[in-house]
């Protein structure tokens, strides 16, 4: 599903500030094809800003950003074809039904034989039953599953997730984690931002610790092995500030 590319995401000395406050400083980051990278850090460490810059929702004040080998400024449109984004908001229209939402996004992404793919996507996140109900009647979990269907309708190579598990019940988290495993198995690449370590982290290949706008440490290993490392990383950060 994904072309053999050395790196799917490359950030070179990326800076970002909002007036006097600095969000990101000198970020060097590479995500390779098929990797599941998780960005960890306290709120306000710059995780979401970094993700928004990669998703081209925000522009860096300095530095180079490349996604799938394409520079974000010149080939923005090709990049968007290869990129899926799931954030806090679901980007769904509450007055439209689930199917109408997906039909709208499939038109925007110019997807052929959309109806078949929409039906398949709805089955995958098992929302077939409420396909023709208006999204405003959906629970947070159902909305998040529909948002995933929307973000992957165009088969992106890179999936960006901004704390997707917040506010999900157990069942929705299970579906989401299972779904992420499947995406990784088909050689997809995931970059996820989170600050809780409970959900969907079975297949993470690399952890990146971010604090006060800088990449402080990168680690490999499963969730258990990095849990205490992450805890004292947070404590350390707090001591330096106070």
């Amino acid at each position: 599903m994904s072309s053999e590319l050395s790196h799917v995401v490359r950030l070179d000395k990326v800076e970002k500030w909002f007036g006097p406050t600095v969000a990101l400083q000198g970020i060097q980051l590479q995500v390779h094809c098929g990797e599941f990278v998780v960005l960890l850090g306290r709120n306000g460490a710059g995780k979401s800003t970094l993700l928004r810059i990669i998703a081209r929702l925000a522009k860096p004040n300095a530095g180079q950003v490349e996604v799938c080998g394409l520079s974000l400024n010149q080939e923005a449109e090709q990049v968007r074809h290869r990129l899926g984004f799931v954030g806090h908001q679901s980007f769904l229209y509450r007055n439209l039904t689930a199917r109408e939402n997906l039909r709208f996004f499939s038109k925007l992404y110019g997807i052929e034989d959309a109806e078949v793919k929409i039906q398949a996507a709805l089955d995958q996140v098992n929302l077939q039953a409420s396909a023709d109900r208006e999204v405003k009647g959906f629970s947070r979990g159902m909305q998040q599953r529909l948002a995933i269907a929307r973000a992957t309708l165009h088969q992106p190579e890179l999936l960006l997730l901004d704390e997707p598990f917040t506010g999900l019940d157990w069942e929705a988290s299970e579906i989401l984690s299972h779904w992420l495993e499947q995406f990784i198995r088909n050689r997809g690449t995931i970059l996820m931002v989170t600050h809780d370590l409970e959900h969907g982290l079975g297949h993470v290949s690399r952890w990146v610790f971010l604090d006060r706008g800088k990449v402080r440490r990168e680690m490999k290993g499963n969730v258990q092995s990095i849990r205490d490392e992450y805890r004292n990383f947070l404590k350390e950060g707090r001591r330096e500030i106070s």
Binding site: A55, G87, Y93, L108, E134, R150
Partner: protein, 225 residues
């Protein structure tokens, strides 16, 4: 070709969204009726006077009802926090402008036909022969407002007081469209349609062309973060 599909998709979504809620249309229509009511008590026009005032009163109602519609132009994106969803899609942002503008134009025209109807009934205005001309003048004038209005709505939605900001930005800029429309309607209403009618129609066409191309070029800068 993709550009038109995408604009069509946005138009389709807005029409569906409006069909489900119908809040823009109802607010515009109710507002129009309220303005007609106030005109009645403000001027107590007999049919002779209304003939003279009709173009000005009509277009004032159209403009302010249109403003209500334009304020709702990006409401579906704002309320559903879905604007970023649009920006994530590989869409030429000019297509978003075109789709939104056509949707606004359609809503304004729908509301205006209803208001025109009420106007004729309440002020027993004999439109008769003039309907033909109005079918030409009203869309042209409204197109001018819809095009400038859509880009200014996209700009003012980022400010805190967007429903105050939009009229402040739109009315001075769209003044020529208002002058053109009122003058054209006045020319159409005089028994042998006045000579100026052709002139003001041409003026409206020029205004519309300018204020569709300029926003199409500038819209990429409006939606960027």
């Amino acid at each position: 070709m993709k550009f038109l599909n995408q604009a069509g998709a946005i138009l389709w979504k807005d029409l569906l969204n409006e069909y489900r809620t119908r809040d823009a249309l109802t607010s515009m229509l109710l507002f129009g009726l309220l303005v007609i009511l106030t005109f009645h008590f403000a001027f107590e026009p007999d049919s002779l006077e209304t003939q003279k005032f009709a173009p000005g009163l009509l277009w004032t109602t159209f403009i302010f009802a249109g403003l209500l519609g334009l304020n709702r132009a990006f409401a579906s994106e704002r309320e559903n926090e879905a604007l970023q969803g649009l920006l994530l899609a590989p869409v030429n942002w000019g297509a978003i402008f075109l789709g939104k503008m056509l949707a606004n134009l359609l809503f304004m025209l729908l509301a205006e036909t209803a208001i025109l109807g009420c106007f004729a009934i309440f002020f027993n205005l004999s439109l008769g022969a003039k309907i033909g001309w109005l079918l030409l003048i009203v869309p042209l004038g409204t197109l001018g407002f819809a095009s400038v209005g859509t880009i200014l709505a996209a700009i003012s939605m980022n400010t805190r007081m967007s429903d105050v900001m939009l009229p402040l930005l739109l009315l001075p800029v769209a003044l020529p469209a208002a002058i053109g429309s009122v003058e054209a309607t006045a020319a159409a209403f005089s028994d042998p349609p006045g000579a100026a009618l052709a002139f003001w129609l041409k003026f409206l066409v020029v205004f519309d062309v300018i204020f569709i191309t300029v926003p199409l070029l500038l819209f990429d800068f409006v939606l960027e973060e």
